[in-house]
């Protein structure tokens, strides 16, 4: 069982190393095969681990496997250790399973790119980093995985390095993530200082005895890391720009796995957050704010991938909300179903983009239902699952989150409940706006141009369609793992890692479901009416402008951070660097030349002068010696 976990962790690393070292010796296609097969090997390892855990008793499902002691300083030790427990097993399956499908899809999507080998090496590196993140047995390894996924994300967003926008987006993502990494690292240092441990069990045992301030600071640091990685307000601005990367990258990193790492961290470190209830509530509030803001902004975006990216932010907002009120199993459940249907949406969007020769603007799309019938069906499944119409996956998981907010009961719970329901309405509106604009109506100019330019080649190669089909099936049935009032195998499985603080009764579940399905359908109807009347969803022009500018977050950060620091450094350059430092360096140089010119004259090269100097010096020394005595 533990062997399976190690295979799961190391197979993608082996794939990345093999592709990197083989270089030009293997064909581009072989690189794709290596990457796909090692990721599926990791999935097999994950399955072995999962069923190994399944066959054990509930009390014996936590296993820490240490390869060796990595760092030791006095009594403080950090091992190269992985933790196998129900939570990490589920995450392993999601990461390697969805990851494998997406890497497989990439073989079709990236075929013909000049740098396919580099792409697949990065993809394997990412899968390895993400698996390290979810399997890490202590906070330091978790932080290592945390940093590595950020690196892989940076490399893959900027994969098309000849496009300046892609490089800028990669830098932005890296810097925003670095803020989160820094707060996470500070929290880890604080944990070492206060509890003397970094492995999860030691930390969670030590949290009890800490002062309120320390626990709050640690929880805030971890929350900062989670917020940056999961693109929640206020560190969310990098995610829409990250859509500059290849579409499978957006599906894997910026929808299914990496951006959900923050949710994983909230659940994994739940004893810390439970000891700091204010910070935990803050996580829920941030999630609720993000899910609303992202939902509103998604209503007006024109880029097909950006709409889905804002939808991702919004859905992760739901997960934060769930983790923040202590519904851990439900949060991870939504993480899993979201990984299915959001990866599906991105991959289907990738088929569309591929079909239209890299067109991403939905104003130039339309009527693709006839040209791409199978993609249309898959996209529809993903969209309906996203809105949460039964019996598709999103219905079960999202309603469970909203119902948990209702079960909390207090004022915060009611607010979150209302925000969640409003989010469902927004989801219905923006996702069906996208669906109608892309697949319904008349073919637009992009499609017309395309069919004139060259003959149609179907919907794409098998390697692209098969993963989309599999994900469509998963999106359709993945939610049946938890049916309120009937059975809860999934949430009970996660409960062994994190006992939930709130649990909705079946009645609350049914009430929530009724309201949210009604709101979702209302959103769909609104989107359909707007589409048929050829109107926008947001008609007030001031609101439209605000949403189109993403509520001015980029402009705000520009004014708050970029411009003051640029002005300060310019002033320092002019007032300090130029006149003081540069000129003083020049003067030190010229002064040295002058002084050495004077001293050089002493070296006359005349032997007798030297002898005279020595004799004279000896005389002086003798006189001094005698005088001092």
């Amino acid at each position: 069982m533990v062997v399976g976990a190690w295979i799961c962790l190391l197979a993608p690393l082996g794939g990345a190393l093999a592709i990197t070292l083989a270089g030009q010796w293997i064909s581009r296609r072989a690189a794709g095969y290596i990457s796909t097969l090692t990721t599926f090997l990791a999935f097999a390892g994950g399955l072995v681990t999962f069923f190994g855990l399944w066959s054990r008793d509930a009390e014996e499902r936590e296993h820490l496997s240490t390869a060796y002691t990595w760092l030791a300083a006095g009594d403080f030790q950090v091992g190269m250790e992985i933790l196998v427990d129900p939570l990490s097993a589920v995450m392993m399956l999601v990461v390697s399973g969805v990851g494998g499908l997406i890497v497989w899809y990439s073989m079709g999507y990236m075929a013909g790119d000049e740098e396919e080998r580099r792409y697949f090496a990065y993809m394997s590196l990412f899968v390895f980093s993400m698996l390290l993140l979810v399997q890490a047995g202590n906070f330091l390894l978790l932080l290592v995985g945390w940093g590595l996924v950020g690196l892989a994300s940076y490399l893959l967003i900027g994969f098309w390095h000849r496009r300046p926008e892609a490089v800028a987006a990669a830098k932005k993502a890296f810097v925003m993530n670095a803020i989160g990494d820094a707060t996470f690292a500070l929290a880890a240092v604080l944990l070492i200082w206060s509890t003397g441990a970094l492995e999860f069990s030691g930390v969670f045992a030590g949290v009890e005895g800490l002062s309120g301030t320390t626990v709050n600071l640690v929880a805030l640091g971890l929350l900062g890391g989670a917020v940056a990685k999961s693109a929640q307000i206020p560190l969310h601005t990098w995610l829409p720009d990250a859509m500059e990367g290849p579409t499978p990258v957006s599906a894997l990193i910026h929808a299914a796995t990496m951006v959900t790492a923050g949710v994983y961290l909230l659940v994994r470190a739940h004893p810390i957050f439970e000891a700091a209830p204010d910070v935990q509530a803050l996580a829920a509030i941030l999630g609720a704010v993000t899910l609303l803001v992202a939902g509103f902004v998604a209503l007006v975006q024109w880029d097909i991938k950006r709409v889905i990216a804002y939808s991702t932010m919004s859905q992760i907002g739901y997960m934060f909300l769930a983790a923040g009120i202590g519904a851990y199993g439900v949060a991870i459940f939504h993480l899993m179903t979201h990984a299915f249907f959001k990866a599906l949406l991105f991959l289907a969007a990738g088929v569309v983009i591929h079909h239209l020769s890299d067109e991403q603007d939905i104003r130039r799309m339309g009527g693709l239902k006839t040209a791409l019938p199978r993609t249309h069906l898959a996209f529809l499944v993903g969209t309906v699952a996203l809105v949460g119409i039964p019996p598709l996956a999103g219905f079960w998981s999202k309603d469970a989150i909203v119902a948990s907010a209702l079960a909390r009961g207090d004022a915060l719970g009611w607010t979150l409940f209302a925000a969640g329901l409003l989010g469902v309405l927004l989801t219905g509106a923006y996702s069906f706006r996208l669906y109608f604009a892309v697949f319904q109506g008349k073919p637009q100019e992009a499609e017309a141009e395309r069919s004139h330019a060259h003959e149609t080649h179907g919907e794409g190669p098998m390697s692209m369609l098969a993963p989309v089909g599999i994900l469509a099936v998963l999106s359709a049935i993945g939610g049946l793992l938890s049916i309120p009032g009937v059975w809860h195998p999934f949430t009970h499985w996660i409960e062994e890692t994190g006992e939930p603080l709130v649990e909705a009764t079946a009645g609350q579940d049914y009430l929530t479901s009724a309201i949210s399905v009604a709101l979702g359908i209302l959103g769909i109807v609104i989107a359909r009416r707007a589409f048929l009347l050829d109107r926008q969803l947001v008609t007030a022009s001031s609101a439209w402008r605000a949403f189109e500018h993403k509520l001015y977050f980029d402009e705000l950060y520009d004014a708050l951070f970029h411009r003051p620091s640029a002005a300060l450094s310019n002033a320092l350059r002019r007032r300090v660097e130029g006149p003081i430092i540069e000129r003083s360096l020049n003067e030190i140089g010229s002064g040295t030349i002058l002084a050495s010119g004077g001293l050089a004259r002493v070296q006359s090269g005349l032997l007798r002068t030297y002898a005279l100097a020595i004799a004279f010096s000896v005389c002086v020394l003798v006189i001094v010696f005698v005088a001092v005595r």
Binding site: A600, S604, G605, L606, L607, R608, A611
Partner: protein, 102 residues
């Protein structure tokens, strides 16, 4: 202890040292400079031996022997240099061998 006191020896030693150092400082022929160096070394040797006699142990005398050995080596090198200069048709004048001028 018979013979003149240690003071006389020191006077002779100082005189030898002074003559030698004047030779080093004033003469231009490298050969004479080497000879003057020998005179300085022997002046120093005389002082060493005189003090050794006064103190009554052999350390000074042994040290004088060591100085002689070093002086012999030094003369060998110095004469070798002078021969090399002569072979390359350089003027035998220390003032002209001033290529190390700063």
């Amino acid at each position: 202890m018979s013979g003149p006191g240690v003071g006389w020896y020191l006077i002779v030693s100082a005189a030898l040292f002074g003559i030698g150092s004047l030779g080093v400082m004033l003469r231009r022929s490298p050969l004479i400079v080497l000879l003057s160096l020998e005179i300085m070394l022997n002046g120093a040797n005389l002082a060493l031996i005189a003090f050794a006699r006064q103190v009554g142990d052999l350390d000074g005398q042994i040290f004088a022997l060591a100085v002689m050995a070093v002086a012999a080596a030094e003369v060998a090198i110095g004469l070798g240099l002078i021969v090399a200069m002569a072979r390359r048709d350089m003027a035998l004048d220390v003032d002209q061998a001033s290529a190390l001028r700063g």
